[in-house]
Symmetry: C2
DNA sequence: TTACAATTGTTAATTTTTTCACATGACTTT
DNA sequence: AAAGTCATGTGAAAAAATTAACAATTGTAA
């Protein structure tokens, strides 16, 4: 695929645009200008046009962007106009909450397998999925079409989980564990930590005085 | 407080440093150089030194950084060396999961009140907290020391929740709802959306071919 | 006690990202 | 069909962030 190097920040914003555009669509808005969209996203209008320009020309000069079309175009550009098969490793409190979180499936990320190394958890059914021993991971990849791994283990087991995912041939990982992981550079890792956002807010509120 | 404008990206990285340093401390490491820390965080060593320089001089030349001290210094710089009182608005599936998530309290973010406008939910006890009508929010702020608001409503109710929080005098908001919100500019808002991370991974995996 | 090795804090150079400005194209109205 | 308005796409300018380079400082070993 095209490998003009697209800023990571652009990708994040595209996700925001989808969110806001979806809201506009819900409200019955059919066409939107970069200026209006920008205001709703709290960014600069040029920014939006620049971001979109990496992927093509989606607007109509003098008119703006057709909301429905633009959503489809951005989703296609991001590669999220299809369903992705996901594997979750680590069925603790967080893991269970993620398995029960409906939003993922709605947005095209289908969790099709849950793994854990704890014998007491293996065999348990969580949100319709049987918890399976992590060693079985590799053998399920093709069968279930697993592409993206989700790590929700305690920090000390995150690296091991990552190893299993890499070994299984998965190319993308979303890591909810409280630890950095080392993986071959062709593997994409995204770290999720809610607390970071709280830190950020705390810092800003503290400095505001 | 000091208002040299510190990049938002720096704040994010500081949170990562804390995470990694905490792991090092757990492993018994007492001193670390910017180079070693950088490798563990997947960033440039200069980056770390630069980030820290915004807040002071925390290292010893020729030696490195004392892990325990550095954690404390960063936490102090971020303003997270104390407990913050939080209010959650929106007791749906996500709200319940957040209320039950122990990690927040462990990291100094204490959820002390849960609000919802649904009469069927009011009075219910979730994770030891009674769900209260959102209209009561303002009256509880001082009593409970509420400083940061958490929004976990459906998208169409996020703005109303934000209004209540602002009205109540809270200065920081962490928004888990699928919607942007408009607030006065002195209020800090952080948006949390797991799906964004999945989009990012999906994009990278797609473009890797 | 002096030279050496290590590693910070910081200034300068480079790279990346954001914003501005405007020519270009599309629709509308007269 | 011509003129006017609007808003995109894009190249150039500005701003911001990252990286490199090095002088300053600490500890260590000869």
């Amino acid at each position: 695929m095209k490998t003009q190097n697209i800023p990571k920040a652009t990708i994040k914003r595209l996700a925001v645009y989808i969110q806001v555009l979806t809201g506009l669509k819900r409200d019955g808005v059919e066409v939107v200008s970069s200026e209006k969209l920008a205001r709703a996203c709290s960014v600069n209008p040029s920014q939006i046009r620049k971001d979109l320009a990496y992927f093509g020309e989606f607007g109509v000069r003098g008119v703006g962007y057709y909301v429905h079309e633009l959503i489809a175009s951005i989703k296609h550009s991001l590669g999220v106009d299809r369903v992705w098969g996901c594997a979750l490793v680590g069925v603790g409190n967080l893991g269970r909450a993620l398995l029960r979180h409906k939003e993922f499936a709605l947005r095209g990320f289908s969790i099709r397998a849950a793994f854990d190394c704890d014998p007491y958890k293996i065999g348990e059914i969580v949100s319709g999925l049987e918890v399976v021993c992590t060693r079985q991971l590799k053998s399920r990849v093709d069968e279930l079409g697993l592409e993206i791994g989700i790590i929700s283990t305690p920090p000390e087991r995150a690296q091991r989980a990552a190893n299993y995912l890499v070994e299984g041939g998965l190319k993308g990982i979303v890591n909810f564990a409280q630890a950095r992981i080392q993986v071959p550079k062709e593997i994409t890792v995204e770290y999720v930590d809610f607390t970071h956002h709280f830190y950020s807010v705390a810092f800003n509120v503290s400095s505001a005085d």
